[in-house]
Symmetry: C2
Subunit: 336 residues, 2 copies
């Protein structure tokens, strides 16, 4: 393996991605805002608390069950803002198009992007288009950056998990990754698997209405729930204990993962939120989640503990325990 070149797993969101950030990006770019490494940056400007985030989307295939690269580019960025408790307001959109892209595909993607923005209540205020020669990109890449406002009294960050916090999730894991990979590999299953891609800002606003003791929110995209929880355990210097019996996975996703050699804990989601909530508020937050269309299958999957800081430990269904590490290696390239 040539280690002096970019490898696919540098983009998979797991261990190699973190190493790349630590080696190539943080030393040159670091500042207190960036160094927090949250889903969105938070800055105070004339008393206004702004959140800002960016993501490039390179998903393959560009159309998949439950969405396409256009809707995904809105959901992913809106969700990163929502993970700071921000109200998403404005999006920028940057297209990189490959010469030869079918114009009808572009129009379909732009319409899907526009519909997703309307649904999420955000405005696309600025845009850019570049075209590169055939063979120098793969049809279409989209960058969306987003700006939102963090309401007064909301202080959500990966650093804020506390021992005792309950770990909640709004539904089953792995739908997005399995839907995209199945489509890419041409697999068909008896049950149609759809991406969970959705805008979470409405759900998060409802949750914040129920409790101001929500300490951490994170959307487990690349690297899945396991990687997101490891990030939070490190940022907050706490341990996380998961109960395997409580981890929600659709039977069809379990079956597909077995066939594809994947573990649902590491598979990407695009409409899921992990919430770390003070124990006294966990039930009321769960109730609000359960009554929201995007949280009907919400459940508690574990808790924050003082033991094993920086580590995520799974209590297995047969009564043992095992360490759940970050994604290492390239499980699913180009999943978002």
């Amino acid at each position: 393996m040539k280690t002096d070149c970019i490898q696919l797993d540098h983009g998979a969101g797991g261990r190699a991605s973190h190493e790349l950030v630590a080696r190539a990006f943080l030393p040159a770019l670091t500042n207190p805002i960036l160094a927090e490494l949250n889903d969105a940056a938070a800055m105070t400007l004339d008393g206004l608390r702004l959140a800002m985030t960016t993501d490039s989307y390179v998903v393959d295939p560009i159309f998949f069950p439950g969405g396409d690269i256009g809707s995904l580019a809105v959901h992913g960025t809106v969700n990163d803002l929502a993970m700071r408790g921000a109200r998403p307001l404005y999006l920028s959109v940057g297209f990189i198009l490959e010469e030869g892209l079918v114009l009808a595909d572009l129009e379909r993607i732009v319409q899907s992007l526009a519909a997703a923005a309307r649904e999420a209540g955000v405005q696309v205020v600025t845009a850019d288009t570049k075209v590169v020669p055939r063979g120098k990109a793969d049809r279409i890449f989209i960058n969306t950056s987003g700006v939102g406002i963090i309401p007064p009294g909301v202080h959500i960050a990966g650093q804020n998990a506390r021992a005792g916090d309950r770990v909640l999730i709004n539904g089953p894991m792995g739908d997005h990754g399995v839907a995209v990979l199945s489509k890419r590999e041409g697999l068909s299953f008896q049950t149609e698997l759809e991406s969970d891609s959705a805008p979470l800002n409405g759900l998060v606003a409802a949750m914040l209405g129920a409790s101001r003791e929500i300490h951490v929110l994170r959307d487990p995209t690349r690297g899945g729930v396991a990687t997101s929880l490891n990030e939070i355990a490190r940022q907050s210097k706490v341990g996380i204990r998961l109960e395997e019996s409580r981890l929600p996975v659709r039977p069809a996703v379990t079956a597909a993962c077995e066939m594809l050699g994947l573990e649902p804990l590491y598979v990407a989601n695009e409409g899921k939120v992990l919430a770390f909530v003070a124990p006294e508020d966990a039930d009321s937050v769960l109730a609000v989640m359960g009554s929201h269309p995007l949280g009907r299958e919400a459940c508690a999957i574990g808790e924050v503990v003082e033991d094993h800081p920086g580590r995520v430990v799974l209590e297995t269904e047969i009564g043992g325990t095992r360490i759940v590490d970050m994604l290492s290696g390239e499980q699913l390239p180009r999943i978002c």
Copy 2:
């Protein structure tokens, strides 16, 4: 020519780019902010006037005389904010990396990007990295989005040109495009040609200190001075008269353009600003520009007229006139 597919000239910033925006993007995405089609969007939030912009950078080669894709990604986005009179504050950076990119090249680019951000006084607050397989991108693409604050009393937009305004530029045209193309084509000239890539926010702040009667600012990047002036003529529904004898071009650029079959008026710049200034303030703004390191060769190149609204007309050195249209066709792909 297949017209139902994306062509290279859809990304060249000229006529085809405008047609693509009008056909594929505006119908689906339009809102009053986006529809203004300025270099940066302007929004008022709790009394604060925010500017936001985005650009993806796909320049080839990634290292060129006078800069690289990293410094360019900062300058281009900082300049788009400055063109609204905004003070640039925050940048997001999204990397799309091709598998096999040499890590040392990435590190060099990130360091250059970081140095450019420091020089421009902006912070990179959020970032993202994606990796695509070999052959699915071209080494590195970078998206930067930017957020800034527009000071009270500053109202600069492409719609604001008025008859009588003087058209100023801070120096000679075409350096960036010719430097990049020469490097790409492996040409060498007796005189080393360097990109003019530079952050214009300091110069613009000085100009705004001298006059609040600056009506339009635009950085003539893709499509060059000719295309930018055509955009402004259409947005403001005015005519623009240029004097050929006043158009500043370095002799080395003139020579290179003749060799390459280019016209300097259509060649991209990355450190130039076109300013439309009320006639009574033109001299004081020119004086301020001339005393700034990025404006030593500033000059007036024309004026806004009531005749021929929407058109740019050149008075040639031999006393004739000709219409200067937008760039049509692909002159310089991947110039930024």
